[in-house]
């Protein structure tokens, strides 16, 4: 999978370190580590502790080590967990299929064009995530052109056959949720892909042509392997936030498309069952971490990044 590393001359062994400890790098790391500690480690610990507490808002919560809440979380909400993983995985694949050719196209442009196209990719970030998702409500609304066109060419019938929609609308369906997720996280796919493809050495492609490789072979043996770091980074940046997202399913979905984020929101804000909400957050975290670990191992990024 990784012929990339073979191309570059391997660096010699680094010179042996001097014994004296240099404190400067550690001092430079300190603010970052502090930040991580305050905004990541501490919340993680409090979240873990919260999930093992029992009580209610009126009487306060006490730590009882109640592990049963995890069983309850998994037993009651496994469909929403699986659905979240399924939707975000689908959206990630779609984003890759849409993003790769676009990133390649942008990377192969010259000068000003490249910058203009990149700005266009980033442009949606100038409006809020919420507004962009609300805009999709309008775009997919029953009375507008896309929905009418989809009905005219029987695309909506196809969606119903595929169980991606409940009726002849585009909105309020699985289809809409997955489209929304794909759209919202697409730039996170394109940017790392672009970075990888932009660094691609044109001489390698020339060499491939000189050796009578077909374009397909060139892509398979040169372009794709060398862009793998971008693919891995892009898929992770798309999959991870998409799995926890619930704005798309809330605004574009229906009562059958509820994702795990919506459950956590409801348990936290409305039911005030903080331990269950914390446990669900943890389950999601562990699930994503294990999937990502398995994926990164398979992709063999140690050699690539």
């Amino acid at each position: 999978m990784s012929s990339g590393s073979a191309v570059l001359p391997s660096a010699g062994r680094p010179p042996a370190r001097r014994a004296r400890v240099n404190w400067v790098p550690y001092a430079l790391l300190l603010p970052g580590l502090l930040w991580l500690f305050v905004f990541f480690v501490v919340p993680m610990i409090t979240l873990a502790s919260q999930s093992l507490q029992e009580g209610d808002v009126d009487n306060g919560y006490t730590f009882t080590g109640n592990v049963a809440v995890y069983g309850q979380a998994l037993q009651n909400y496994w469909p929403q967990l699986l659905r979240s993983i399924g939707y975000s995985a689908t959206a990630t694949v779609l984003a890759l299929l849409l993003g790769y050719p676009l990133a390649y196209f942008i990377a192969s442009r010259r000068g000003a064009w490249k910058n203009i196209l990149l700005v266009l990719v980033i442009a949606p970030f100038f409006t809020s995530f919420l507004i962009r998702t609300l805009a999709w409500q309008t775009i997919l609304a029953d009375d507008y052109l896309p929905a009418r066109f989809a009905r005219a060419i029987h695309f909506t019938d196809l969606l119903q056959v595929l169980n991606l929609s409940e009726n002849s609308s585009l909105l309020s369906s699985k289809f809409a949720v997955i489209c929304g997720l794909t759209y919202n996280f697409l730039p996170f796919m394109i940017l790392p892909l672009f970075t990888s493809l932009d660094r691609l050495d044109g001489r390698l492609l020339e060499a491939a042509r000189d050796l009578y490789a077909t374009p397909r072979e060139t892509f398979r043996h040169i372009t794709w392997p060398l862009s793998l770091p971008g693919v891995v980074a892009g898929t992770l940046l798309t999959f991870i936030p998409a799995a926890g997202d619930y704005i798309n399913s809330k605004l574009l979905g229906n009562t059958q498309t509820v994702m795990i984020g919506q459950v956590i929101d409801a348990q936290f804000l409305r039911v005030l069952n903080y331990p269950l909400a914390a446990a669900l957050s943890f389950v999601l975290l562990v699930l994503i971490l294990s999937l990502v670990t398995a994926y990164v191992r398979r992709a063999g990024t140690e050699e690539l990044v």
């Binding site: 229906n254 984020g261 039911v271």
Partner: protein, 407 residues
């Protein structure tokens, strides 16, 4: 931790949509909010006295006389605004009259969200930075139960005698010692004839079962409105329903959900799809629909014969508020019918003040003749108020409802 909690909360909440009764915290919200809840204390230290009776909230030293100021948190678009200057005429007049400056903040977007924001402060016995806000009935019940709101000094609110008698005797606050109504409204059924094929939607049964509406119905995330309307349709009384009644209503709703009848549960973001026809029929609040009807007079609004819910948003003064007397002066000011009429003329909800109708009949007869704004006795008789819940009931019911609406 408080600093940190605040930051996390603000980050989480800043992504919320700013419309009334919308329920959206940010994407990272759940996790950030879970953090905010950590290390939660037992019964609030603001409460004095113990035992099974509701604790009473502690008062801070009242700075009203030295600081001519009052901090009021309210729902967005819930007060009169001058379209040209963007000033709020009734507040400007209040400051001119009393010399008290009003810091009016529209940061009350959702009962649950607001509660999550102020609860850590109240539980720690700290000032929330607010002297008065407007909570919905059931939230008032919870705040009273937990001892987070103070008793009024009615001596400072002589105009409270103008409050409509039907709103004075409420189950969750007998004698209105802690709360006074700001605006009221009904939850009923709204429909768009263009999307129903000209059909009227007049009952909850029809809303939940009519195949013509399949997949084009939205209900409300406010449990009391959604379950309340269904329980009334089943012939139950909202003042005295039992666990079995509640569960029967949940089952009924679940049946409709599993049949694909219900598209979703919403805050007041139901308005846009209703106007466009993407939603054919929905449960809806009066003030919203009155405003929509101004653009599309064909939209139908029905208070079901089986009964509509009546809710109010109420002034409460939180524990440790620094300007309690000023807040009471402000409340008193709004119970002048002439002042309340100005507000109602703009927001189109129901005035809790007697005499508003007479003022409006002269100032804006079209508003005065709208039964959704100035309801007659028969309309009011057909409405019910959801009873207050104990902490255990509230947990149980909201868990069942959450599994229905987000499960």
């Amino acid at each position: 931790m408080t600093e940190l909690d605040n930051l996390a909360l603000r980050a989480a909440l800043s992504r919320g949509v700013l419309t009334r009764r919308t329920a959206m915290a940010g994407g990272a919200g759940a996790i950030a909010l879970a953090l905010a809840a950590c290390g939660s204390k037992g019964k609030n230290p603001t409460a004095s006295g113990s035992g099974s009776a509701a604790p009473s909230a502690k008062a801070a030293q009242d700075m009203s006389d030295s600081e001519k100021l009052v901090n009021w948190s309210n729902w967005p678009e819930y007060i009169d605004v001058d379209d040209k200057t963007q000033a709020r005429p009734t507040l400007v007049a209040f400051t001119k009259k009393t010399g008290i400056k009003v810091n009016y903040t529209e940061d009350y977007n959702d009962n649950d969200e607001f509660y999550a924001k102020v609860r850590p402060l109240l539980a720690d016995g700290k000032d929330t930075g607010r002297d008065v806000w407007c909570s919905t009935d059931w939230m008032v019940a919870r705040l009273i139960r937990q001892g987070y709101v103070q008793k009024f000094d009615l001596g400072n609110i002589p105009n409270h005698k103008n409050v409509d008698a039907s709103l004075m005797d409420v189950e969750f606050d007998k004698g209105r010692l802690y709360s006074l109504p700001w605006q009221s409204g009904f939850a009923g059924i709204a429909y768009n004839p263009a999307a129903t094929g000209g059909k009227k939607v007049e009952s909850i049964d029809q809303l939940l079962t009519d195949p013509a509406l399949k997949g084009k119905v939205t209900l409300l995330t406010e449990m009391r409105d959604t379950v309340g309307l269904v329980m009334m349709a089943m012939g139950k009384k909202l003042a005295s329903f039992t666990d079995a009644d509640f569960n029967a209503a949940i089952d009924e709703l679940k049946k409709a959900k599993d049949a694909g009848q219900i598209k979703g549960f919403t805050g007041n973001e139901y308005t846009k799809p209703l106007a466009s026809g993407d939603t054919a029929a929905c449960m809806a609040w009066t003030g919203d629909v009155v405003q929509l009807q101004a653009d599309n007079p064909k939209l139908g609004y029905v208070l079901p014969k089986t009964g509509a819910t009546l809710w109010s948003d109420n002034f409460v003064i939180p524990a440790m508020a620094k300007h309690k007397k000023n807040a009471e002066t402000l409340i008193n000011y709004y119970y002048d019918p002439a002042v309340m009429a100005q507000v109602v003329d703009y927001v189109n909800y129901i005035s809790p003040v007697q005499g508003t109708k007479e003022v409006l009949q002269k100032a804006d007869p079209s508003v005065a003749s709208n039964p959704l704004i100035i309801p007659d006795a028969a309309t009011l008789a057909n409405t019910q108020v959801f009873r207050g819940l104990t902490a255990a009931e509230e947990t149980k019911y909201s868990a069942a409802f959450a599994d229905l609406s987000a499960g």
